[in-house]
C-alpha cells in the first residue's frame, strides 16, 4: 500500500481513499447541509458549470487554499448531479474531471526523478486500468498488447503500432501519450463511480442548486445523431469536438459542408460546436449560415475533396474509403457495385 496524502486526494478525488478520508475527518451529508457550508455547495455547483462548458476545473495544485474544500466540492458535485439525475450533465462532468485528473497524472509522471511521486500515478494506471507502466530511461513503456487494446480506438496515424518505437514486447511512450492512452477509461471509471453512488435524501440547502442543474441541462438537450455511416474523417472531427478539443477551421468547414450536403440544417449542426473551447453561438451561426448559403452572397460551399483533406491532415482513410474522391461519396460506392 502506498500512503496517499491529502494533495493526492485533491488531484484524484475519485479514488476510494477519498471516502475513508472524509469519514475519518467526521464529515457527513447531514452536517454539510448546515448553512455554514453553503460556500462549498456553491463551489461544487461551479465545478459542474465549468465542466458543462467543456472546460477543465481547477488550477495549479500549489494554489489550493483549502484542500478539504477541494475534495468536498467534488463529492458534493456528485451529490447534486445524482439528485438532478441528468445523464448529459453526468457525462460532461466525468469527462471534464477525467481531463483534470489526466493533467495531474501527466505532471506526476514527469516528476519521476522523485520515485515516490512516480509510484502513485503508476499505481493508479495499474489498479484502475490494469495497465502496467514501466520506465526506461526517459520513456514510459507498456506491453504491446496493452497498447494495442487502447490505441486502436484512435484514428490518427501516429497511434498505429508501426509509428511507434517497439522493442522486446514493449511500446515506448512519453508521459503525455501514456496518459492520453487511458483517457477513455479514466472517463468511464469516473462515470461508473458516479453511477454507483447512492443518495437517499439531500439536505434542504442543496435543493436550489439541484433545480438550477435542470435549467443548465436544457442548453444541452439538442442532440446530434452521429451516424455510423459517416466516413472516418467526419467521425474524427465529431469526436474531437465532443471531447472539447480544438478542431481547426478547415476541419469545422469540412464537417459543416459534409453535414449540410447530407441534408442537415444549420440549426441541427450548430450544437456540435458547443464544446469547442472558443465556442461563440452568434459567430458559429453566422459562419454556418454563410457556408449553407442562406445569408450574404448566397454561395453554397461544397465539401472539400479527399485529396484536399489529406493535405490538411484531416483524412483518416480506411479500406472502406477505397477509391472515393470526396467524403460525401463514402458508403455509396459499395452499394452501387452490388
Amino acid at each position: 500500500m502506498i500512503q496517499l496524502g491529502i494533495r493526492d486526494l485533491v488531484k484524484y478525488p475519485f479514488l476510494a481513499e477519498t471516502g475513508e478520508y472524509l469519514r475519518d475527518k467526521g464529515f457527513n451529508l447531514e452536517q454539510l447541509g448546515h448553512p455554514d457550508w453553503k460556500p462549498i455547495v456553491e463551489k461544487a455547483y461551479g465545478r459542474i458549470v465549468v465542466a458543462t462548458t467543456g472546460q477543465i476545473y481547477g488550477s495549479a495544485i500549489e494554489d489550493f487554499e483549502n484542500m478539504d474544500s477541494e475534495i468536498l466540492s467534488f463529492v458534493i458535485a456528485i451529490v447534486l448531479l445524482k439528485s438532478a439525475g441528468i445523464p448529459t450533465l453526468i457525462k460532461r462532468f466525468s469527462l471534464s474531471e477525467a481531463r483534470r485528473a489526466e493533467r495531474y497524472l501527466q505532471r506526476d509522471l514527469l516528476q519521476k526523478k522523485n520515485e515516490t511521486k512516480l509510484e502513485l500515478p503508476l499505481k493508479i494506471m495499474q489498479d484502475l486500468f490494469s495497465v502496467k507502466v514501466m520506465t526506461d530511461k526517459e520513456d514510459f513503456v507498456i506491453s504491446v498488447s496493452d497498447y494495442l487494446k487502447r490505441a486502436v480506438q484512435f484514428h490518427e496515424k501516429e497511434w498505429k503500432l508501426i509509428n511507434r518505437r517497439v522493442e522486446n514486447g514493449f511500446v515506448f511512450l512519453t508521459a503525455h501519450e501514456t496518459v492520453r492512452l487511458i483517457r477513455k477509461e479514466l472517463d468511464g471509471y469516473i462515470n461508473s463511480k458516479i453511477q454507483a453512488v447512492n443518495i437517499p435524501s439531500i439536505p434542504e440547502t442543496f435543493r436550489e442548486r439541484v433545480s438550477d442543474l435542470s435549467l443548465l441541462a436544457k442548453k444541452f438537450s439538442e442532440y446530434v445523431i452521429v451516424s455510423s455511416d459517416y466516413p472516418p474523417c467526419i467521425k474524427h472531427a465529431i469526436e474531437v469536438l465532443d471531447r472539447g478539443e480544438n478542431l481547426p477551421h478547415s476541419g469545422r468547414f469540412m464537417l459543416a459542408t459534409y453535414l449540410l450536403s447530407k441534408g442537415q440544417t444549420a440549426d441541427q449542426i450548430a450544437p456540435l460546436f458547443k464544446n469547442a473551447p472558443d465556442y461563440n453561438e452568434r459567430v458559429t451561426r453566422y459562419q454556418l449560415d454563410h457556408i449553407a448559403g442562406s445569408s450574404g452572397k448566397g454561395t453554397k460551399y461544397s465539401c472539400p475533396s479527399c485529396d484536399k483533406l489529406k493535405s490538411e491532415n484531416l483524412c483518416f482513410e480506411i479500406p472502406e474509403c477505397n477509391g472515393i474522391i470526396n467524403p460525401t461519396q463514402f458508403g455509396k460506392k459499395r452499394t452501387a457495385n452490388v
Partner: protein, 373 residues
C-alpha cells in the same frame, strides 16, 4: 472432383491417416477448441468438439476427410453456434503463401483449367477449345517459391521475437501442405487481442501505414540526425540497414532520400513496403474465429501434409511433407508443368497414360492435372 478420382484419393488418404496417427494430435487445451472437416465434393462440417487423440483418429477413419481444421481460438462452448461459443482468446496465426509474393518464377509454373470443358491452357483469358472465359488458375510450387517463402518466415520470426518479445519456444512453424507456411504463436499476452487489434499488429509486420515522421522526415526541417541509424531496433533499424544500406553507399542514398522532400519520401514508403514489409495474409491474422488446417493432416489441394518444420532452413516440403504411399498407379495426365517430388522430376505430360507412384498421382489429381484411368 470426379467420383472415380475421389475413390482413389479417399483410399490413399485413409491409408495415410491409418499409418500416421503419430503425426496427428489434438492441440493443447483441446476441450476449448472448435474442430471441423470437409469431405471431397461436400460442404464443411464445423462446430465440433473433440475430446482426445483417440476420438480424432476415429473421426479420420470413419469420415476420411479431405481436409481437417481446428480453431486457433479458445471457447467455453466450442460446439455451440458462433454467437454462443463464448470466445476466450486465440493464438496468433500467420499465413505466408508463395502466391502472394509476386515472384518472377510464378509464370513458369501456373496454368489455367477451363471450368466448362476441363481443357488446360498455359495461359490466356479464353479456353482455346470451347472459348469459355471461366478459367481457374492452377499452380505447382517450385523450389524458388519455397525458399522465398522461407525468407518471409524468417523475417516474421525476427519481428515476433525481437519487436514483440515472443520467446522462440512459443512459436511454431508449419508447412501449409501446399504453397506456404503457417506460423502459430502461443503466448498469453497476445491471445486476447481482438480482430481490430490484430489488424494493427498485421500492419506493423507488413510495414503498412508508416508515416514519414516515424522515420525522421518532417514537413518542416529535415535534418539527417533524426533519420534512422543502423544501431536502432525495430523498423527504424531495419530501414537503416536494408534501405539506406552499408556505410559506403549510405551517404549518397540518404542525400537522395532527403533532397526529394516530404512528398517524395512519402511515395518511397510504398516501394519500401514492397521491399521490406513481411508478406503475411492479413485476413488470416485478423480472423479470430477461423478454423485453421490441423497440423499433421493432408491438404486436399496437393495431397501433401501440413507438417511441423523443425529445421526450417533445411526443410524440403517436396520430400518431408510427401508422405503418401508409393505403389504405382495408372493415370491419364494432362500436366503442362513439370514438378519434383521426392527428388524425382515428373512431367510435363500431354494427355498421356502414365504409371507413377501414388503420391505423384494424387498430387496431380488434387491439382486437377490428372484423372484415374
Amino acid at each position: 472432383m470426379f467420383e472415380k478420382n475421389v475413390k482413389l484419393v479417399n483410399d490413399v488418404f485413409k491409408e495415410y491417416y491409418f499409418k500416421h496417427f503419430e503425426l496427428i494430435h489434438v492441440p493443447t487445451r483441446t476441450s476449448e477448441r472448435e474442430f471441423g472437416y470437409q469431405k471431397f465434393n461436400e460442404g464443411m462440417t464445423r462446430h465440433l468438439s473433440i475430446k482426445d487423440d483417440k476420438e480424432l483418429h476415429l473421426l479420420l477413419m470413419t469420415q476420411v476427410p479431405s481436409d481437417v481444421y481446428c480453431s486457433n481460438a479458445y471457447y467455453s462452448f466450442p460446439n455451440l453456434p458462433m454467437s454462443e461459443k463464448d470466445w476466450k482468446g486465440a493464438d496468433l496465426i500467420f499465413d505466408i503463401d508463395a502466391k502472394d509474393l509476386k515472384l518472377d518464377c510464378r509464370t513458369s509454373h501456373i496454368c489455367c483449367k477451363c471450368n466448362s470443358c476441363q481443357n488446360i491452357v498455359k495461359q490466356g483469358i479464353n479456353c482455346s477449345v470451347c472459348g469459355s472465359t471461366k478459367l481457374e488458375t492452377i499452380s505447382v510450387t517450385c523450389k524458388n517459391c519455397m525458399s522465398e517463402s522461407k525468407k518471409e518466415v524468417v523475417r516474421l520470426l525476427e519481428i515476433l521475437t525481437k519487436d514483440f518479445g515472443i520467446q522462440k519456444e512459443e512459436i511454431k512453424v508449419c508447412f501449409s501442405g501446399n504453397e506456404g507456411f503457417h506460423v502459430y504463436v502461443v503466448n498469453s499476452d497476445y491471445q486476447t487481442l481482438d480482430s481490430r487489434e490484430r489488424a494493427d499488429l498485421a500492419d506493423y509486420i507488413m510495414f503498412n501505414g508508416i508515416i514519414p515522421e516515424t522515420l525522421g522526415m518532417n514537413k518542416q526541417n529535415n535534418s539527417k540526425s533524426t533519420l534512422p541509424d543502423v544501431n536502432e531496433r525495430g523498423w527504424r533499424g531495419r530501414v537503416a540497414k536494408e534501405i539506406f544500406g552499408s556505410k559506403s553507399k549510405r551517404a549518397k542514398i540518404v542525400q537522395e532520400v532527403i533532397s526529394g522532400g516530404y512528398s517524395v519520401f512519402q511515395a518511397k514508403l510504398e516501394d519500401w513496403r514492397q521491399e521490406i514489409g513481411v508478406k503475411i495474409d492479413p485476413k488470416v491474422t485478423m480472423d479470430i474465429h477461423r478454423i485453421f488446417r490441423l497440423e499433421g493432416s493432408l491438404n486436399s489441394k496437393s495431397g501433401l501434409s501440413k507438417i511441423l518444420c523443425k529445421d526450417l532452413e533445411n526443410f524440403d516440403p517436396f520430400s518431408d511433407a510427401c508422405l503418401l504411399g508409393d505403389e504405382n498407379v495408372e493415370i491419364i495426365a494432362n500436366c503442362p508443368i513439370s514438378f519434383k517430388l521426392k527428388n524425382k522430376k515428373y512431367g510435363p505430360y500431354e494427355k498421356e497414360k502414365i504409371t507413377v507412384p501414388k503420391y505423384a498421382a494424387v498430387y496431380m489429381i488434387c491439382k486437377g492435372f490428372a484423372d484415374i484411368n
